[in-house]
C-alpha cells in the first residue's frame, strides 16, 4: 500500500479563523466544570497534546463541525474529559456557558463524551480500547470514498494501550500501510504492566512511524505531530509527568 497524501504537514492554516479563547484561558474554562479556582496544565495529562493538535494540526471548522472534508479526531480515552471540553469551547465548538452544567442531567457534557450530544465530538468514548479500531475503519472509509486528504487522529492513554483491541488495530494498520491514521499516546506512566519502551517497541514493530515528544512542550509536540511518514501510519508518544509518584 502506498499513498503520498499524508506524508507532509498540512499546508493550509487549520481550524477556525478566529477562535474565541487561547491556551491561557483553558484553566479558567476547566474550572467552570470543577468549581476549582483554576487548573494548572498538569491537572490533565491530555491538555497540551490536545491543544497543539487542535491549534496546529487538525483541519476543523467549528461553523461546520460535520463537514465531510474535516479531519477526524477521536478521543478514545474518554474519561476525565474536562480539558477536551475546554479545548472545544476555546476553539469555538461549544458555548462556554455549557461547561457550567458539566455532568448534570440537562447538560450535554458528561464524564464520558457522547458524540450525539456535543458538536465536534467524533466518538462516544469511556470504555477503553474502542477508539483506535474505530479510527481504522474511519480511515478506510474516507479512503474508499476518495477523501484522500482527510486525516484521522486517535488519542489514547498509555494504560489504555493495555486493551488488546488496540493491538488488533495497530498490527492491521501498520501492515496495511494506513497512512492517513495517526495515534497519540499520552504517556503518564499509568499502565500496570510493561513500560514506555515496550509500548514504543510494539508500535514500531507493527510497522508504524513513531515519534516521541515531551507532552508539555508545544514546539516538540508540533514537531512530532507533523513529521512525514509516507506509506505508514504515524504515532506520537507524548510523555508527561507520571500519574503516581514512583
Amino acid at each position: 500500500m502506498t499513498a503520498t497524501a499524508h506524508d507532509t504537514a498540512p499546508t493550509a492554516p487549520p481550524g477556525a479563523a478566529d477562535p474565541p479563547f487561547g491556551y491561557d484561558d483553558l484553566p479558567a474554562l476547566m474550572a467552570r466544570m470543577t468549581g476549582a479556582d483554576k487548573h494548572a496544565p498538569a491537572a490533565d495529562s491530555l491538555t497540551d497534546a490536545l491543544w497543539v493538535l487542535h491549534q496546529d494540526v487538525l483541519r476543523l471548522d467549528p461553523a461546520r463541525p460535520d463537514a465531510e472534508d474535516r479531519d477526524r479526531f477521536l478521543l478514545s480515552r474518554g474519561h476525565g474529559p474536562m480539558s477536551y471540553y475546554a479545548v472545544l469551547a476555546a476553539r469555538g465548538f461549544l458555548d462556554p456557558a455549557v461547561l457550567d452544567g458539566f455532568g448534570t442531567f440537562d447538560s450535554p457534557l458528561g464524564h464520558h463524551p457522547d458524540r450525539t450530544l456535543v458538536p465536534g465530538v467524533e466518538i462516544s468514548s469511556g470504555s477503553l480500547g474502542h477508539g483506535l479500531p474505530i479510527g481504522v475503519g474511519t480511515a478506510l472509509g474516507l479512503r474508499a470514498r476518495g477523501l484522500a486528504e482527510q486525516r484521522v487522529w486517535v488519542m489514547v492513554g498509555d494504560a489504555e494501550l493495555d486493551e488488546g483491541s488496540n493491538h488488533e488495530a495497530l498490527e492491521f494498520a501498520g501492515a496495511y500501510g494506513l497512512d492517513s491514521l495517526h495515534l497519540v499516546v499520552v504517556d503518564n506512566s499509568s499502565a500496570t504492566w510493561g513500560d514506555s519502551r515496550s509500548r514504543a517497541e510494539r508500535i514500531t514493530a507493527a510497522g508504524w512511524s513513531l515519534a516521541e515528544a515531551d507532552g508539555r512542550d508545544h514546539a516538540d509536540l508540533r514537531r512530532a505531530y507533523t513529521l512525514p511518514h509516507p506509506g505508514r501510519p504515524h504515532a506520537v508518544l507524548a510523555r508527561v509527568e507520571p500519574k503516581h509518584a514512583r
Partner: protein
C-alpha cells in the same frame, strides 16, 4: 387462507437472481450472501464488506475489483466490528461477516458501544449460528446470539429460511441505514416464502381455540411436518425483530385465552418476552421450543442434534400435541 408451507411457490418470494442468472443448484445461504454482497459492491459504492478470514476466499474476486471496499482484518474480531463502525462513521454501509460466535458473542461490547452507542448502522451477517456445524462443537455454536442482541436497542433481526429469502432480506438490510443482523443457516426450508414485509406470515388457520404456532426461519419445514393433522394456526417469521406483535394479535383474534407455541432455531425462549408483550391484554400460555441452554457435548450431524434437542418433526409434534392436549383439559 390456508397455504401449506410445503407447496408455497418459491417464485412468489424469490428475489431477482444476481446478474439474471439462476442460482446454482444446492446453493447455501452463505453462497448466496457472497454473490449478493459482491453484486452490491459492484452496484453501490457505499457498500463495504468487512471480514475476519472466514469466507474471505470466496470474496477474492470481489476484493480484486474493489480493494478499498473488501477488507479482511484477519483474526481480529474486536477490530472487525470497530472498523465496521468507523466505516459507517465515514459514510459507508458496512456489511460485516463471520461465524455468529465471533460476530456477536466475542465482540459484544463493540456491538453495544461501537455501533449502538455511536448511533451508526451496519449489517451483520452471520453463519453457523446454532448447530450448523455439530462436528465443530460448542466453540462454533452461538444459539444465544439473538437473545444477546435482545439486550440492545433498535436491531433488526432476520432469520431467513431459504437462500431466496436470505437474498431479499440482505438486499433490504443493506439498502437501509439501520443496525441489522442477518442470521444465515446451512439449514433451509424446501421453498421460499414472501417475507419482504417483515411480518408474520399466516400459513394455516386452525379452529377458534387452536394453538397459534410461530415457526422461525429454517424451523418451518420440521414444524409444518410436526403439526400435520393437528388443529393449529401456523405462522411463519423470517424477521423476528422487530417482533410483529400486531400479526400475532391478529392471529389470536377474538380468542378469550390463547396458547402460543414458539419454534425458534436459537435459544429456547428467546422470544417469549415478545409474545408476553404482544399478548399483555390476553391471558395466554406459551410453549417455547428451541435450542436448550445445556451443552450437548456431542459431535455428529445436524439431524442428530435436531433430534437431541427435540427440534425434529417427531420431537416437535410430541411436545406441541401435549401442549395442545393440556390446553383442552
Amino acid at each position: 387462507m390456508p397455504v401449506p408451507a410445503a407447496t408455497a411457490s418459491a417464485a412468489t418470494a424469490s428475489a431477482p437472481a444476481v446478474g439474471g442468472s439462476a442460482p446454482p443448484p444446492g446453493e447455501s445461504m452463505r453462497d448466496r450472501f457472497v454473490r449478493v454482497a459482491s453484486d452490491l459492491l459492484d452496484t453501490d459504492d457505499r457498500t463495504a464488506v468487512v471480514l475476519a478470514v472466514i469466507t474471505a476466499a470466496a470474496f477474492e474476486e470481489a476484493a480484486r475489483r474493489h480493494p478499498d471496499r473488501v477488507i479482511d482484518v484477519g483474526i481480529r474480531e474486536q477490530l472487525l466490528i470497530g472498523a465496521g463502525a468507523g466505516l459507517a462513521l465515514a459514510g459507508m454501509r458496512p456489511v460485516v461477516h463471520t461465524f455468529a460466535s465471533f460476530l456477536v458473542e466475542r465482540p459484544f461490547e463493540q456491538l453495544k458501544l461501537d455501533l449502538q452507542h455511536q448511533d451508526v448502522g451496519a449489517v451483520l451477517v452471520s453463519a453457523n449460528a446454532s448447530y450448523d456445524w455439530p462436528q465443530g462443537g460448542f466453540t462454533h455454536m452461538a444459539p444465544g446470539d439473538v437473545a444477546l442482541l435482545d439486550t440492545l436497542d433498535g436491531w433488526g433481526v432476520h432469520v431467513p429460511g431459504h437462500p431466496d429469502e436470505a437474498e431479499l432480506l440482505l438486499r433490504r438490510a443493506v439498502a437501509g441505514e439501520g443496525r441489522e443482523y442477518v442470521r444465515l443457516s446451512e439449514q433451509s426450508n424446501r421453498a421460499a416464502l414472501p417475507v419482504a414485509d417483515g411480518r408474520l406470515l399466516p400459513l394455516r388457520e386452525g379452529g377458534p381455540t387452536a394453538p397459534v404456532v410461530v415457526a422461525v426461519g429454517p424451523m418451518l419445514d420440521p414444524t409444518a411436518e410436526a403439526v400435520a393433522g393437528l388443529d393449529v394456526t401456523l405462522l411463519y417469521a423470517a424477521t423476528v425483530r422487530p417482533f410483529d406483535a400486531v400479526g400475532l394479535r391478529a392471529a389470536v383474534g377474538a380468542r378469550p385465552t390463547a396458547d402460543v407455541v414458539l419454534v425458534e432455531p436459537y435459544l429456547a425462549g428467546t422470544s417469549t418476552a415478545r409474545v408476553a408483550e404482544a399478548l399483555s391484554g390476553t391471558p395466554h400460555r406459551t410453549l417455547a421450543l428451541g435450542v436448550p441452554r445445556a451443552e450437548l457435548r456431542r459431535y455428529g450431524t445436524r439431524e442428530e442434534h435436531a433430534r437431541a434437542h427435540g427440534l425434529d418433526a417427531a420431537g416437535l409434534r410430541g411436545r406441541i400435541a401435549a401442549f395442545a392436549g393440556a390446553a383442552r383439559d
